[in-house]
């Protein structure tokens, strides 16, 4: 089997790399998580200890709210942009997707410029009502940061699906008497669901694990990634950090797997 040897040769670099720098480190991480003072109970510390549990709840709520908001605006914007030609469309799309390349820290800085102490909103409210409204470092600021980070990605995913939607499907629904609400409910959204699952899961996973934005903005908020960071660097509690990391990784990975299987099922029309 010559071709089999050749296949092995092709996959060999990827296999070695993955083993050395992904599988072994993750195994080490798992070992570390189980080696704390509580032993195996360390894995469940995120649920058993109130401080961690609260942090997990805040992060989950924030991620869910971000996901819902991102899906809502991205779906509206995608439908507005799909099948519509106008001058400057390319430029508009570039502006909407430009922040794709921004790391979380830069996104955090964008939110500071928007709602920080010297921010745009603050200076406007100062001249209007006399108070400098600062929200960048609050939960709301973090939410805006995650939104800023997620919208371009999710918008691109949903826009691709919206462009593929046959316009005559909407026309057919209209000819049968369907109004705007019925068209959304029965025709457009079902067609966009696979993309919405994929985009939504990506958004959720990113929001759960986002570190850069939180690092810049969440000086007073203990979202889970910040918790891992402080446990590891400040408290030098490696096993605790590892246990929380594993819990977080499982949550984000599961979200992506569930979304992918749902999207698949929808595409296959089961």
């Amino acid at each position: 089997m010559r071709s089999r040897h050749f296949d092995l040769l092709l996959i060999l670099p990827a296999a070695i790399f993955t083993l050395a720098f992904l599988i072994l480190p993750l195994a080490r991480l798992t070992l570390e998580a189980g080696s704390g003072p509580g032993g195996l109970a360390g894995f469940f510390v995120i649920l058993t200890e109130a401080r961690f549990r609260n942090s997990l709840i805040v992060t989950l709520v924030l991620a869910i709210v971000t996901t819902v908001a991102t899906l809502a605006v991205a779906t509206v914007a995608a439908q507005t942009l799909a099948h519509r030609k106008f001058p400057g469309r390319g430029l508009l799309l570039s502006m909407l997707t430009f922040p794709l390349a921004f790391p979380g820290v830069v996104v955090g800085f964008m939110i500071i410029l928007f709602g920080g102490r010297l921010g745009l909103v603050g200076s406007v409210t100062k001249s209007l009502i006399g108070t400098n409204v600062v929200f960048a470092y609050s939960l709301f600021g973090l939410f805006l940061g995650y939104l800023y980070f997620s919208v371009p990605r999710v918008l691109l995913t949903i826009l691709a699906a919206a462009e593929k939607l046959d316009p005559s499907l909407v026309e057919a629904a209209r000819s049968l008497g369907a109004g705007p609400v019925a068209i959304q409910r029965d025709v457009v959204l079902p067609a966009l669901f696979p993309a919405m699952y994929t985009g939504g899961a990506l958004c959720f996973a990113t929001a759960m694990g986002a570190f850069g934005t939180a690092f810049t903005l969440a000086t007073n908020i203990d979202v889970v990634p910040m918790l891992i960071y402080t446990e590891f660097t400040l408290a030098t509690n490696a096993s605790m950090a590892a246990a929380i990391s594993i819990a977080l990784g499982l949550i984000t990975w599961a979200a992506l797997v569930v979304a992918r299987s749902r999207a698949m099922r929808d595409v296959n029309g089961g």
Binding site: L10, L29, T80, M95, P99, P103, Y148, T216
Partner: protein, 264 residues
């Protein structure tokens, strides 16, 4: 022509969204070039802040470029043959391997960095070298390169190409180099642009994995955001924007090109 209220609402929301995304960027560019942000336009414009940033952080800019380049080379060497192998084998096994290789997309970078540090933290020289950061970047960007190549392989009839070349007497590795690689070039180019863009902007892994001697641009940015005045932070951001804009334009151009190619 009557415009329905739903369309109106859509246009308004899209416009607001665009403003939300783009106004802070413009503010940042403005802040990086203004003499004094708090005093406004009347203070005038200057390149002093950019000059100061260059003096303070030019090493991070150069290191980010080096890291991105090394990351690209490694993802090409590992990812392109790997992607072809996965498509060739197909089936359950290939799906499992793909799932494992793409795991770094699903797991937060912080967790991966922690895992790496726990395992290799003891290897001083490796831990403190730029290579450590590069490995982290390869870990994170490899799935993107592989997916990009796999996507193209799935649209071309690679089996016929391979069998055609085999019928002409070409050995397996020459078929890969002479026939498969040229035909997946659009995927490689798109993947390469994505890898470089992601690498230049990578923070989550890098923040944990870097040492004072291996700071990259985003690490420097986080530093500046925390400790420097707004004008310097903005000027630094401006440097970052100037670095990624050509990459984004490139990604767009490649996407347009392949769209045209599939249409014709």
């Amino acid at each position: 022509m009557r415009i329905r209220w739903t369309t109106c609402a859509g246009i308004v929301i899209t416009a607001l969204l665009t403003l939300f995304l783009i106004v802070p960027v413009l503010l940042s560019v403005y802040a990086g070039l203004t003499v004094n942000y708090a005093r406004g336009i009347s203070a005038g414009f200057t390149l002093d802040w950019v000059r100061q940033v260059w003096g303070l952080y030019s090493d991070t800019v150069l290191r980010s470029l080096v890291v991105a380049l090394l990351t690209l080379i490694l993802t090409l060497l590992i990812g392109v043959p790997g992607a072809y192998a996965l498509v060739r084998r197909g089936g359950r096994f290939a799906r499992i391997v793909e799932e494992i290789v793409t795991l770094p997309v699903a797991i937060p970078g912080l967790a991966l960095a922690l895992a790496m540090i726990l395992l290799y933290g003891g290897f001083g020289a490796f831990r403190q070298s730029t290579l450590f950061v590069v490995i982290g970047h390869v870990l994170f960007t490899l799935p993107f390169m592989m997916r990009s190549v796999i996507a193209i392989l799935e649209t071309i009839d690679w089996r016929t190409l391979d069998e055609g070349a085999a019928s002409l007497g070409s050995p397996a590795w020459r078929r890969f180099v002479d026939v498969i690689l040229p035909n997946v070039r659009p995927g490689i180019v798109a993947g390469a642009l994505t890898v470089v863009t992601l690498s230049i902007g990578e923070f989550n892994l890098t923040w944990m994995m870097h040492t004072p001697m291996t700071k990259t641009l985003p690490v420097g940015l986080a530093d500046a955001y925390a400790s420097m005045r707004l004008e310097i932070a903005s000027a630094y951001t401006l440097v970052f924007l100037v670095m990624v804009i050509p990459l984004l334009v490139g990604v767009q151009a490649v996407a347009d090109l392949s769209e045209k190619r599939t249409k014709s």
